[in-house]
Every structure is written in structure tokens, then in C-alpha cells.
């Protein structure tokens, strides 16, 4: 019991308490202002959650996500506040929790390209790919779909393969961009973690969306949900399929952004957080003279 209490207390130092509102604000601002400016079909509202999770741990990350959704949905006035965000606080909590574990595993650490790290990256990529393949094959080849769309078996399998391939292509593209920008093999792990997080997020969100909102959330992806439903899927099935298309993409991009940002923060800043050491690589210190104002 004491161990648990210490694990909890360790994650909520004063510095983390100061970081959490910043993470919450980042979530909300990127999810509203920047999202509106770019009008992309991704949410960008988990960047703060994942950042806090990686730096401070699973509990802090989970709470940041949950509180961000609740505050965004229920404590802020209209143009920013949206009432559909609230129920997805559970998903946000899970995302933060996962980010904390990825952080503790050092998956967001920069890694110089070298024999061992490339091999590890290859293994990680294969594992992630296998998980995605399994998920997509299961989700899109559902028994209900078979029953309702007899004769569509071949198409259904093809569809799951297409979606799986699309996600994999995106994964490779993002990793490629990250490598180009940062020459850092750690991108494979970070973006892979994003892919897994996205899959989990989709699975967690589907029941919420279907129970509370009947499967639609007012965003552009509702057309997709409609398409799946016209194919005979139940609300839950349709929401899950839509989620598995948009969430992994969204979380891969989000993790990419967080990985990039972590790499750009000063070592000193990162090191003072509970999980900070695990988010830092082992490169030699380049700056020798340090000031408090740095």
C-alpha cells in the first residue's frame, strides 16, 4: 500500500501540478483555435494529454485528459466550449494513461540511429503492424456484416485490407517525415505508440459515441458512419469502424508532434519531471555554462 501511495505521490509534484493546467489549456486551444484554422479531419486535442503523460506519468496524464474534456465541455463559455466533448473524457483518460506507460517505457526518447536501435525499431514496427492487422481484420470482418451482407464476403475482407494498408502507409509516411526532420529512430517507437493508442481510443470511444450520441458526433466523419450503417452495421459497429479509421491517424500525428516537441525542449526542463529522465536520450551535454534563466 505504501508503495502505491508513493507511486501516486511521485507523479504529482508541484511541478506536475503546474504542468497539468498548461496541458489542459494546450488540449483545448489546439483542439479549437488551431483545429479551426487548419480544418483538418484530425482532432489535435490530445497533445497536452500525451505530453503530460510522457513527462509526469500515467495518472497525471489520465487526469489531464479527463479534466481537459470536462472543462472544455462544461466550464467554458460557448465559442470554445462544446457540449459533445464531455462524455469522451473516458477516452481522454485512457489516452493519458497509455501515454504515461509509453513514457515510462522510454518510447518517446530520442534514439540515434545505430545497429541496436534500428533493430529494435524494426521489431517494434513489426509488432505494431501485427497488432493493427489483427484489429482491422477482426473489426471489418464482423459476423453481423456477414449475416447482413451475404455475398459481400470478399469485399469485406478487401475493405479491411485496404484500411489496414492505408493506416500502414500513413505510419510509414509519418515515420519518414520524422526521420527527415529529426534523423531520429525514436520516431518509429513514438509514432508506433500513437498507432496503438489510436486503436485503443477507437475501441473505447465506440460505445460512448453509440450510447450517448447514437453514433454521430457532428463532425465530418458522420458520413462515414452513415456509410457503414447503410451497409447494415449496428450503431456500435459503424462507430467502431469509423473510429478505427480516424483515431489511429489522429493519434499518430499527435504523437509525432509530441515527440518533436519533446526533442526540442531543453534537457534541464525535461529532466526535472518525474518521468523526465526516461524521455531524455543519453547524448552528451553540449552546453556547459548554465544559468537559472535558461
Amino acid at each position: 500500500m505504501g508503495l502505491l501511495r508513493r507511486w501516486v505521490a511521485r507523479q504529482f509534484t508541484t511541478r506536475v501540478i503546474v504542468l497539468m493546467p498548461v496541458g489542459i489549456a494546450i488540449n483545448i486551444v489546439l483542439g479549437s483555435t488551431v483545429q479551426q484554422a487548419l480544418k483538418l479531419p484530425i482532432y489535435l486535442d490530445s497533445i497536452g494529454t500525451i505530453l503530460v503523460g510522457v513527462l509526469a506519468g500515467p495518472l497525471a496524464g489520465a487526469l489531464t485528459g479527463i479534466l481537459a474534456n470536462l472543462i472544455w465541455g462544461y466550464l467554458l463559455p460557448a465559442p470554445i466550449g462544446t457540449s459533445t466533448i464531455g462524455p469522451f473524457a473516458i477516452t481522454a483518460g485512457v489516452i493519458g494513461l497509455l501515454a504515461g506507460f509509453w513514457g515510462q517505457l522510454g518510447l518517446f526518447r530520442p534514439r540515434r540511429a545505430g545497429g541496436a536501435s534500428i533493430a529494435a525499431a524494426a521489431i517494434a514496427a513489426i509488432l505494431v503492424g501485427a497488432l493493427a492487422l489483427y484489429t482491422y481484420a477482426r473489426a471489418y470482418a464482423s459476423p453481423e456484416a456477414f449475416v447482413n451482407i451475404t455475398g459481400f464476403q470478399a469485399t469485406d475482407f478487401d475493405r479491411s485490407r485496404i484500411f489496414f494498408l492505408a493506416i500502414m502507409v500513413l505510419y510509414v509516411a509519418l515515420v519518414g517525415t520524422a526521420l527527415y526532420l529529426r534523423r531520429d529512430v525514436g520516431a518509429v517507437f513514438a509514432i508506433g505508440a500513437g498507432l496503438v493508442t489510436g486503436i485503443v481510443a477507437a475501441v473505447v470511444s465506440a460505445p460512448i459515441a453509440s450510447i450517448v450520441f447514437g453514433g454521430v458526433t457532428g463532425s465530418g466523419t458522420d458520413a462515414l458512419v452513415a456509410a457503414f450503417r447503410s451497409g447494415g452495421d449496428s450503431i456500435y459497429q459503424a462507430t467502431l469502424k469509423q473510429g478505427l479509421l480516424s483515431d489511429p491517424l489522429d493519434k499518430m500525428i499527435t504523437s509525432f508532434v509530441v515527440f518533436f516537441i519533446l526533442g526540442s525542449l531543453s534537457r534541464r526542463f525535461v529532466a526535472r519531471f518525474p518521468n523526465g529522465e526516461k524521455a531524455l536520450g543519453h547524448e552528451a551535454e553540449t552546453d556547459t555554462v548554465q544559468t537559472a534563466k535558461g
Binding site: P21, R268, A271, R272, T288, V289, Q290, K293
Partner: protein
């Protein structure tokens, strides 16, 4: 009864060079000790070490001892430290809690954290506001204050904990001349009325000329010069340490250099 730094050496985490190398200093109650020096000379580090935040909150290695009224800062918990020694930094906005709607509640934040009775909190808030001279700001929104006002409120917030010592790291650097004058006057009043010992790091030597009793010059992490303020600030070696002397001193030098007489009346005229 003082803040005593003895043979203090400090190195930041992961740094190869020491930031402070064998510093001996003391801050006496009721006196203002000014610290000047070039950039990177260790002034901010000195504030963190003297205030007990280094290495506690930021890591690094500390040798030597830092004692407040005889007690080792390393052995104190952070809230005990806060009640003995108040810390203020440059950026006033970052020091406000960001959770209060009025200056009154902002200044009450510290005493409330200590769990004091409401009557005690009220007394301390008015006392702190009064000492700094900002009672009329009490109903205002802290987020809408000017730089100088915010810094004064931050000062009052720290004072509300009744520390015996105050450490300020360039509190006026982001302020305009009016704000600088406000803060300088408030500090002088605090030292006079509360008997607090003040360690004031400042670039603006004019401020130190006005309110400091003693001045120490830091260079490369150690004390190069120390003594009464008037002497040190008039010392010709000051410029060599990257510190610009106060206007009064510069003017006096120019006047003497051009062969004219310098008198006390002239000095009075500029002040």
C-alpha cells in the same frame, strides 16, 4: 541572525563548470545587500542557493552550507523555508497564482496555504498590502495589473508569509522607470518597517545606490568586491566587472575629469 552562506560551491545538474565557486556572504536583518555582476556571473544562481531552491527543487550539487538564522536550509521543508525567506523573480505575471479573482485573495494565497485562521489571514493581507503600499489595488483583478503593480502584488503575497528575509532576482528588469521606482520605494519601506534582511540582485545600479546598505560584486561565480554601497558603487574597478556605475557616480567622474568642482549640493540636485 542572518542568512549565512559559507564556502558555498554549486554546480547545476549535468553541467561541467561550477556556477558558484566558494562564496561567503551574509544577509543581515534590516539591511539591504545589493548584488551586481555581469551576465552569467552567477547572480541568479546565488538567489536560488540562498533561497534554498538549489539543489532542492532543481537538482545539482551544493557544497558548503547555507543557513538561515542558524538552521540549515537543506533540512527544512519547502513551506518552512517560505516562511523564513521570501523569493521574487523577474517575471511578475508568472509569480501570480493564476487562480484568484482579486489581489486580496492573491495576497491571501500564502497564508491560506498555511491553514491559518481566517482572522489571521485577513490581518496579514492588510498588513502586507499596507507595507508595500498597495491597499487600493485589493479589489482589482491580478491579471489586469501593470508590470510594476503586479510585481508589488507579488511582493505583498510573499510578505504575507512574514519571512524574515527577502531574496529578489532582478525584480525591476522588466519594468519601466515608473514601475522601477515603485518597487524600489516599496523595498526600502519593507526593510525599514519590518526589519527584513533583503538580498537584491540588480542590473540597475541606480536602484542600489538609493536603497542598498552594502553591495557585493559577483564575477565568474565568486565575490570579487564587497563593502558599503557608496564605496563599492564608486569603485573604479566596477566597469571591469561588466557593471555600469550609477548615474551619480558617472556624472561625478565626468565633472571631475573636466576639471570642475564636485560638491555635495550638485549631488543633491540630481537625486
Amino acid at each position: 541572525m542572518a542568512i549565512e552562506l559559507s564556502a558555498v560551491r554549486y554546480r547545476y545538474a549535468g553541467a561541467s563548470k561550477t556556477a558558484l565557486g566558494s562564496v561567503d556572504l551574509s544577509v543581515e536583518p534590516g539591511r539591504v545587500l545589493g548584488i551586481v555582476g555581469a551576465n552569467e556571473s552567477g547572480k541568479s544562481t546565488l538567489c536560488l542557493v540562498a533561497g534554498g531552491l538549489a539543489p532542492r527543487a532543481i537538482g545539482g550539487r551544493l557544497e558548503g552550507s547555507v543557513r538561515i538564522d542558524g538552521a540549515d536550509t537543506a533540512a527544512m521543508r519547502s513551506h518552512e523555508l517560505a516562511q523564513r525567506c521570501g523569493l521574487l523573480f523577474q517575471n511578475a505575471a508568472a509569480q501570480l497564482s493564476g487562480t484568484t479573482g482579486t489581489v486580496y485573495e492573491e495576497v491571501a494565497f500564502g497564508p491560506c496555504n498555511l491553514g491559518l485562521a481566517v482572522a489571521d489571514v485577513i490581518e496579514r493581507v492588510w498588513w502586507a498590502l499596507g507595507t508595500v503600499g498597495v491597499e487600493d489595488l485589493a479589489p482589482r483583478d491580478p491579471a489586469r495589473l501593470s508590470g510594476g503593480q503586479a510585481q508589488l502584488v507579488a511582493l505583498a503575497s510573499v510578505l504575507a508569509l512574514r519571512p524574515r528575509y527577502l531574496i529578489l532576482d532582478e525584480p525591476t528588469s522588466e519594468l519601466d522607470p515608473a514601475g522601477t521606482a515603485l518597487v524600489a520605494d516599496a523595498l526600502a519601506r519593507v526593510a525599514r518597517e519590518t526589519g527584513a534582511g533583503i538580498l537584491l540582485v540588480e542590473h540597475k545600479t541606480d536602484v542600489l545606490a538609493r536603497i542598498a546598505d552594502d553591495v557585493a560584486v559577483l564575477a565568474d561565480g565568486s565575490v570579487a568586491l564587497a563593502g558599503p554601497a557608496a564605496e563599492v558603487l564608486a569603485d573604479p574597478r566596477l566597469a571591469g566587472f561588466g557593471v555600469e556605475p550609477p548615474a551619480r557616480v558617472r556624472l561625478e567622474r565626468e565633472v571631475r575629469a573636466s576639471g570642475l568642482e564636485w560638491s555635495a549640493a550638485l549631488a543633491e540636485a540630481i537625486e
